[in-house]
C-alpha cells in the first residue's frame, strides 16, 4: 500500500525521531510513503481561527497534491489529522467553498475534487495493514510491560470529523498496545488534554494539565506511556520534569511515539528508533523488556 | 424555627413567561420587585416547551385583522372565552411579540427579511410566529431571562409559596418554604402577582413540567379569591415511552415541505381522514384529541391498555423534519427509534389545565392586592387548543399584571402584617406538619393515589357516575390521608419530598374543585366531553363556572358569559 506522507511540522523539527521511526516501521510493513515535497503546515488551530480563507486554501493545496498522485494522505500528528480532516470534509461537502478554493488553487495549477481520505498512522496500522500482518512482524513482544495510552484530543474529538473510535470509550490505542504484546493501563486521563496548544501562550497552564495526567497514569501502575501525537509527546516527555516540579512530584515515566513502541516489538533497536532523543531516558524500559 | 422576613413593592410568584414578563414590567414602572420561584430562573416553566406565538401585525395576509383573530379565538374556544379580555389580548399581542425582538429574539424571516408567519391550528389566516427550529418557547424564555439579567432583578429561587396573607380582605403578603434550607419565609408586599402556571400534576401523565401543581391557584382559593372554569383541561398525546419523554408534544400542525406528520391507528389508517378530512392533522387540539380518543374507544389502538396509536414521520424529508419537528425527532432518535423507518407509539396525556384564578382586565383577582397572569388565570380563551394560546396570555397579561401591580404599589403604603401574625403562625404549623408527623403515609403515595383517581374518573370523556366516584375518592383522600402525610427523611436540605407533601395538599384542593365544576357543567363543548350530555347547550351553558371559598365552604355558581363582540349565531 502507498500513501502520500504528511509528517507535519513537529516531526520535521522538534520530534524528528517520530519521522525517522515512522519510516523504519513503514518499510518493514511494506507501507510506501510518497514524499509530498512541499506540503505546508496544516495551520493548526491558530490559523483556523485567525484566517479561515488561508486555512482552507493551504490545506486544499495539500489535499490537491495528494489527489494528483492518486493517493490518500497519511498523518502522524493528531492536530494535522483533525485540521486536514476538517478541511477535507468541508471541501468535499460544500460545493461553494470548494469552487472558491479551487479558483485560488488554479493560480498555482492545482485543483481538488474531493477524492482523498486522511488517515492517521494508528488507523492505517489497525485497519489497512491489520493485526494479522503486524503480528507476523512482532519478533520481540513487549510481554509484561505496562503501557499507559495517551490518545490526545485531536484523534478522538470531534466525533463527527474523526469517526474512527468512540471518544468516550476508545479502544484503538489499547488494541495497538496489545498488538505489541504489552499490557494497556486504564486511567481516566487517557482521553484528556495535554495542553500543548496553549504552551506557546500560557506554558504554566499547559504544564499543569500535563502533570495531572502523568500522575494519574503513574498512580494506575504504568511503567511507560505511548501517544500517537508528537505534540502530546512533547508535553509528556519534554515537559515532564517541569510538571513534576510544579506538582512537587518526581516523575519517571518514559514516553514512546507510536512507531517507537511498535518498532521495539518488531525487534528494532535504540538507534533505529532514535530513542536517545527521548528526554526521559528509556533505558530502564529497554532493560525491563530484555533489550539491554 | 426562625422565620425569614422580606418586603418589597411588587412580589411575583412564579418565574415562567408570565412571571418574568410581569417582573420586567413592574420594574420598568418604578416598583421594587422581588421574584420568588420554585426552582431556577428560566429552567422551571412550561414556556420553554412551547413552539410559537400568534399575533396580527404587519406580516402575513394584508387582509388579516384583529377582529378576525378575536373571532378565531372565541370560536375555537367554544364561545366560553372572556370576550373583553380576549379583545385586549388580541390588541396587545402585536406589541408584545415585537418587544421580544428588542429582547434579543428573532422571529423567522422570509427571503426579503420580513417576518414570516405560518398558519396555526384554528386560525383563519397565517399569523403564527416561531423562531429557528421552531423553538419559539425556548427563545421567548431566554430573551425574557436576559432582560431579567440586564435589570439584575433580585430572585428568591427554590422557594415554594404556600399561603397568602390577607388583612381586611386585602392581600398583604405571601408565606412559604425555602426548601433548599428548610426555612420558613414571610414576604410582605403591596401587590402580589401569581404566575405559578397550571395544575396538570393532578393527572398521571402530563406533558408540562412537574412543578405545575397549581400552587398559586390553591393559595388564591384558600385566601378567598374566585376561580373560574376549573372543569377545563387540555388532552393531548405524547410518545408512549420512555417515561421521561412523555413530556414531548406531537406537533401535528408543522408542515415539513408539503406534508405534516400523520396520525395512524393500529390498522395503519390515517385517523384524521375519518374525522376531519379538510384540516387533517392541522385541526385544533380538541378535534384531534376527540378523534384519537374515539379510535381508542372503538378498539383500533394497540398496547396492554388499548390506548397506543402512532405518529408517522416516515414520509417526511429527514433533514427538514429535524429542523421543523426538533424536539420530537431529537428525543425519539435518542430513544432508539429510526423515524424514517419506524412509527412512534403515542398514548394519551394531559396538557396544560385551563381553569384558574378569575381576573378582570387589570389582571386583578377578586381579592385586592392579588394579581394573576399566565396559565394560573382562568380560561380567558375558553376551552380550546388554538395555536399560541399559552404564550399569548402569558405575555399580554404578564405585562398588564406587572403594570397594574406597580401602579397600585405607587398609590398605597406598605401594608402592616401585625394583624396577620396568627395567619403566619398557622401557615408555619401547616408547612412544618409533615416534618413532624410520624406515619407511614408518604407524599408519593398520596400523589399517585390522587393521580390515579383523576386518570380514571376525569378522563376526556366524562359521565356523572365517574365524576361522582372520583369526587368521593378525592374527598376520602382529603379526609383520611392528607393530614397524616409524613416524610421518609427529616433533612431540611433540599427536601423534595417535603415540597411534594405541600404540593399534594394543593392538588387535592384543586382536584375537588375540578370534579365539582365538571359535575355542574352538563353539556359537551370543544374539549369538555360528557357521554351523558353529548350535545352543546348554548341555552344553559354559555356560562363561566366560578368557585369561591365562602364562610369556610366551597360556593360554586355559573355566571353568564357576556357576549360583547361575538355571538354563536353569527357563525352559521
Amino acid at each position: 500500500m502507498k500513501f502520500a506522507y504528511y509528517p507535519g511540522c513537529s516531526p520535521q523539527t522538534t520530534t524528528r525521531e517520530l519521522d525517522f521511526s515512522t519510516r523504519k516501521i513503514a518499510k518493514a510493513l511494506e507501507i510506501e510513503l510518497e514524499d509530498m515535497n512541499g506540503a505546508a503546515c496544516c495551520g493548526s488551530v491558530e490559523l483556523r481561527s485567525n484566517d479561515p480563507d488561508l486555512f482552507y486554501a493551504i490545506n486544499g493545496r495539500t489535499l490537491a497534491i495528494a489527489e494528483s498522485k492518486g493517493l490518500d494522505l497519511l498523518t502522524i500528528c493528531n492536530t494535522c489529522q483533525l485540521t486536514l480532516s476538517q478541511a477535507n470534509k468541508s471541501l468535499k461537502n460544500d460545493d461553494k467553498l470548494r469552487d472558491n478554493i479551487n479558483r485560488i488553487l488554479s493560480e498555482v495549477n492545482l485543483r481538488y475534487s474531493g477524492g482523498v481520505d486522511v488517515k492517521h498512522l494508528l488507523w492505517v496500522l489497525l485497519e489497512n495493514v491489520g493485526p494479522e500482518k503486524i503480528k507476523k512482524e512482532i519478533k520481540t513482544p513487549l510481554t509484561g510491560l505496562k503501557v499507559a495510552p495517551f490518545y490526545g484530543c485531536h484523534i478522538l474529538r470531534p466525533k463527527e470529523i474523526l469517526r474512527f473510535d468512540d471518544p468516550d470509550d476508545p479502544r484503538s490505542l489499547e488494541d495497538f498496545i496489545q498488538m505489541c504484546g504489552a499490557e494497556p493501563v486504564d486511567y481516566s486521563g487517557k482521553i484528556k488534554c495535554c495542553g500543548f496548544h496553549i504552551l506557546p501562550y500560557n506554558p504554566e497552564l499547559a504544564v499543569k494539565l500535563t502533570g495531572k495526567y502523568l500522575k494519574e497514569a503513574g498512580d494506575a501502575g504504568a511503567q511507560c506511556m505511548v501517544t500517537p501525537c508528537p505534540l502530546c509527546f512533547t508535553m509528556l516527555d519534554g515537559y515532564q520534569s517541569q510538571a513534576g516540579k510544579q506538582l512537587g512530584y518526581q516523575f519517571n515515566l518514559p514516553v514512546f511515539h507510536l512507531p517507537q513502541l511498535l518498532g521495539l516489538a518488531m525487534g528494532m533497536g535504540k538507534d533505529e528508533l532514535m530513542l536517545k532523543r527521548n528526554m526521559i531516558a528509556v533505558d530502564e524500559i529497554l532493560h525491563k523488556i530484555g533489550r539491554i | 424555627m426562625d422565620v425569614i422576613y422580606k418586603e418589597t413593592d411588587v412580589l411575583v410568584i412564579g418565574g415562567g413567561l408570565a412571571g418574568m414578563r410581569a417582573t420586567i414590567e413592574a420594574h420598568d414602572n418604578g416598583a421594587a420587585v422581588l421574584l420568588a420561584l420554585k426552582g431556577k430562573l428560566g429552567k422551571m416553566n412550561a414556556g420553554i416547551c412551547s413552539y410559537h406565538c400568534a399575533a396580527v401585525g404587519p406580516w402575513g395576509d394584508p387582509d388579516d385583522t384583529k377582529e378576525l383573530h378575536l373571532k378565531d379565538v372565541i370560536e375555537v374556544g367554544g364561545y366560553l372565552g372572556d370576550q373583553e379580555l380576549c379583545k385586549i389580548m388580541v390588541e396587545e399581542l402585536t406589541d408584545r411579540v415585537l418587544e421580544l425582538e428588542k429582547y434579543g429574539l428573532m422571529w423567522d424571516r422570509d427571503s426579503e427579511g420580513n417576518i414570516d408567519p405560518y398558519l396555526g391550528a384554528g386560525h383563519s389566516k397565517p399569523r403564527t410566529l416561531s423562531t429557528y427550529k421552531r423553538q419559539g418557547g425556548l427563545d421567548m424564555i431566554h430573551s425574557l431571562r436576559s432582560e431579567m439579567r440586564r435589570r439584575k432583578i433580585p430572585l428568591l429561587e427554590d422557594i415554594m409559596a404556600t399561603g397568602l396573607l390577607v388583612n381586611g380582605g386585602e392581600v398583604v403578603g405571601v408565606v412559604g418554604l425555602d426548601y433548599l434550607n428548610g426555612t420558613f419565609i414571610c414576604l410582605r408586599a403591596k401587590s402580589v402577582i401569581i404566575a405559578t402556571g397550571s395544575h396538570h400534576q393532578v393527572f398521571p401523565v402530563s406533558t408540562p413540567p412537574p412543578e405545575g401543581t397549581g400552587d398559586g391557584v390553591a393559595m388564591a382559593y384558600r385566601a378567598g379569591a374566585e376561580l373560574m372554569n376549573m372543569e377545563f383541561t387540555l388532552f393531548v398525546f405524547s410518545p408512549a415511552n420512555p417515561r421521561t419523554f412523555r413530556g414531548i408534544l406531537i406537533p401535528t400542525l408543522f408542515k415539513v415541505g408539503d406534508e405534516t406528520l400523520h396520525l395512524l391507528n393500529n390498522k395503519g389508517e390515517r385517523i384524521m381522514e375519518r374525522y376531519d378530512p379538510e384540516h387533517l392533522e392541522m385541526a385544533t387540539k380538541d378535534v384531534i384529541a376527540r378523534s384519537l380518543h374515539n379510535e381508542i374507544r372503538e378498539g383500533r389502538a394497540d398496547g396492554e391498555e388499548g390506548n397506543i396509536l402512532y405518529a408517522d414521520l416516515r414520509h417526511l424529508p429527514y433533514e427538514a423534519a429535524k429542523q421543523k419537528l426538533t424536539d420530537l425527532v431529537f428525543c425519539m432518535e435518542k430513544a432508539g427509534i429510526d423515524i424514517t423507518k419506524e412509527l412512534i407509539p403515542i398514548s394519551p396525556a394531559s396538557h396544560e389545565t385551563i381553569g384558574g384564578i378569575r381576573i378582570n382586565k387589570r389582571c386583578e383577582s377578586s381579592l385586592p392586592g392579588l394579581y394573576a397572569a399566565g396559565s394560573a388565570i382562568g380560561a380567558i380563551y375558553g376551552n380550546d387548543g388554538i395555536t399560541g394560546r399559552g404564550s399569548g396570555h402569558a405575555l399580554v397579561f404578564g405585562k398588564r399584571a406587572g403594570e397594574n401591580a406597580a401602579q397600585r404599589a405607587q398609590q398605597i403604603d406598605m401594608p402592616s402584617i401585625e394583624n396577620v401574625m396568627d395567619q403566619v403562625e398557622d401557615e408555619k404549623k401547616r408547612v412544618f406538619k409533615p416534618m413532624e408527623t410520624r406515619s407511614n403515609i408518604l407524599p408519593i403515595m398520596v400523589l399517585k393515589d390522587l393521580q390515579q383517581t383523576l386518570g380514571k374518573y376525569f378522563r376526556m370523556e366524562k359521565n356523572e357516575r365517574d365524576l361522582q366516584k372520583g369526587l368521593k375518592k378525592v374527598l376520602r383522600i382529603k379526609k383520611e390521608r392528607l393530614h397524616d402525610i409524613s416524610l421518609s427523611s427529616n433533612t431540611k436540605r433540599f427536601n423534595l419530598e417535603w415540597r411534594m407533601a405541600l404540593e399534594v395538599e394543593n392538588l387535592v384542593d384543586i382536584a375537588e374543585i375540578m370534579f365539582r365544576a365538571a359535575i355542574m357543567r352538563k353539556e359537551s363543548r370543544t374539549m369538555f366531553l360528557r357521554d351523558d350530555y353529548p350535545e352543546k347547550d348554548d341555552k344553559n351553558w354559555l356560562k363561566h363556572i366560578v368557585v369561591k371559598k365562602q364562610n369556610g365552604s366551597m360556593s360554586i355558581e355559573a355566571l353568564p358569559i357576556k357576549l360583547i363582540y361575538i355571538k354563536p349565531e353569527e357563525e352559521d
Binding site: 522538534t14 505546508a40 493548526s44 488534554c193 | 416553566n45 423562531t131 413530556g247 430513544a335
Partner: protein
C-alpha cells in the same frame, strides 16, 4: 425482567461527614433514560433522593449529572447496564445530585448576556435576513445545562480567569448577533478565552450538539485578533500565520523567539537547554520547496478581500 445497576452518589452536607455511594437495581425498559432510573429509585426505593429535573427533553438544562464520568442531562443520557451517577464536579453540593450553580451563573452575568443596542428601534418589525444570523442561531440552542464547563479540563483545574465554554457561548451569541453593537471584545477580555486548549471536550459533551469550539470560541478569537492586533494573543496568532507564509513549516523555536517575552524565555531556560542538548531545537528556519505557491495563494486571498 432485565435489571440494570445504578450506583448513586449520596451526600447531605448538614448531616454527613463525607459522601457515600448507594447501589440500586432497577428494571430495564426500552429507550430508558438516566432520569427514568432516578425517578424509579426515588419513587420505589428512597423518596429522599434529591435531583433536579423539569422539562424532560433537554430544553431547561436543569438535570445535568455525571454518568460514568461524562456530564450530561439525565433526561437525555441513555440508561446503561452499569452506571455510576454523580453530581456535576467543581461545584458546592447542596444535597445528593443537586449542586449550587451560582458560580457559573455569575460568570454569565459578568459578560452582559443581553442584547445591547445604542439606538433602540421602534416597536416595528425590522428587516432582518436569516443569512446574517446563520452563525448565531445554532448558539441560541444553548440551554445552560453546564455539561460543557463540567467537562472542560481548564475549568477542572480551576484555572483562574477562565470563565468556561458556557460563558463563551453566551458571549458569542451576542458578539455574532448583527443587532448587538456593544464592543464585545471588552467582555471577551474578562473571559480568559485565550486559555481554551482546543481539546473539544465541550463539543463532545454538549447534549444539543452546539459547535462550541468552532462556532463560538473561535469566532471570539477571530474577532479579537482582528480588533486587537497589538495584543500578545493576536501577535502570537499572527506570528504563526506569518511563519507559515514565509517558510511553509512552523519551527517552534522560531515561533517562540518571535513571541515570547524575555522573562518567559528565562523562566523556561532550563527546559530550553535540555531540549537543545537533545537536539530538539533547530535554529534554522526550515523552508518547504515551492514556498512561492504559498505566498501566491496568500496574495490572491489578500486581493480578493
Amino acid at each position: 425482567m432485565e435489571k440494570l445497576s445504578a450506583k448513586i452518589f449520596r451526600y447531605d452536607p448538614t448531616t454527613d461527614d463525607s459522601h457515600r455511594y448507594e447501589t440500586f437495581e432497577v428494571p430495564c425498559e426500552k429507550g430508558m433514560r438516566v432520569l427514568d432510573v432516578l425517578m424509579y429509585i426515588q419513587e420505589n426505593f428512597d423518596t429522599s433522593l434529591a435531583f433536579r429535573y423539569s422539562c424532560r427533553r433537554a430544553r431547561c438544562g436543569s438535570c445535568a449529572v455525571v454518568v460514568n464520568g461524562k456530564p450530561e442531562p439525565a433526561c437525555l443520557g441513555e440508561a446503561k447496564k452499569n452506571m455510576v451517577i454523580e453530581p456535576l464536579p467543581n461545584l458546592p453540593i447542596i444535597r445528593d445530585l443537586v449542586v449550587r450553580t451560582d458560580e457559573y451563573e455569575e460568570r454569565i452575568q459578568d459578560i452582559n448576556p443581553y442584547l445591547v443596542r445604542t439606538k433602540q428601534p421602534e416597536l416595528k418589525p425590522e428587516k432582518l435576513l436569516s443569512s446574517d444570523f446563520t452563525q448565531v442561531m445554532p448558539l441560541n440552542e444553548c440551554i445552560e445545562c453546564f455539561s460543557c464547563v463540567s467537562a472542560c479540563p481548564v475549568n477542572g483545574i480551576k484555572w483562574k480567569g477562565f470563565l468556561g465554554p458556557t460563558t463563551l457561548v453566551q458571549l458569542s451569541r451576542r458578539l455574532l448577533d448583527p443587532r448587538d453593537d456593544r464592543d464585545r471584545i471588552q467582555d471577551a477580555l474578562r473571559t480568559g478565552f485565550e486559555n481554551c486548549v482546543s481539546c473539544y471536550m465541550c463539543v463532545n459533551t454538549c447534549p444539543v450538539e452546539i459547535g462550541i469550539l468552532d462556532g463560538a470560541i473561535e469566532n471570539i478569537k477571530k474577532n479579537y485578533i482582528e480588533k486587537r492586533q497589538q495584543d500578545d494573543y493576536s501577535k502570537y496568532n499572527n506570528a504563526w500565520k506569518n511563519i507559515v507564509i514565509k517558510n511553509g513549516i512552523v519551527n517552534p523555536f522560531i515561533l517562540m523567539r518571535r513571541i515570547l517575552k524575555i522573562n518567559t524565555l528565562l523562566k523556561n531556560i532550563v527546559t530550553g537547554i535540555k531540549f537543545f542538548l537533545k537536539g530538539r531545537i533547530s535554529l534554522s528556519s526550515k523552508r518547504i520547496p515551492n514556498i512561492e505557491e504559498i505566498r501566491k495563494i496568500e496574495k490572491v486571498i489578500g486581493e480578493k478581500r
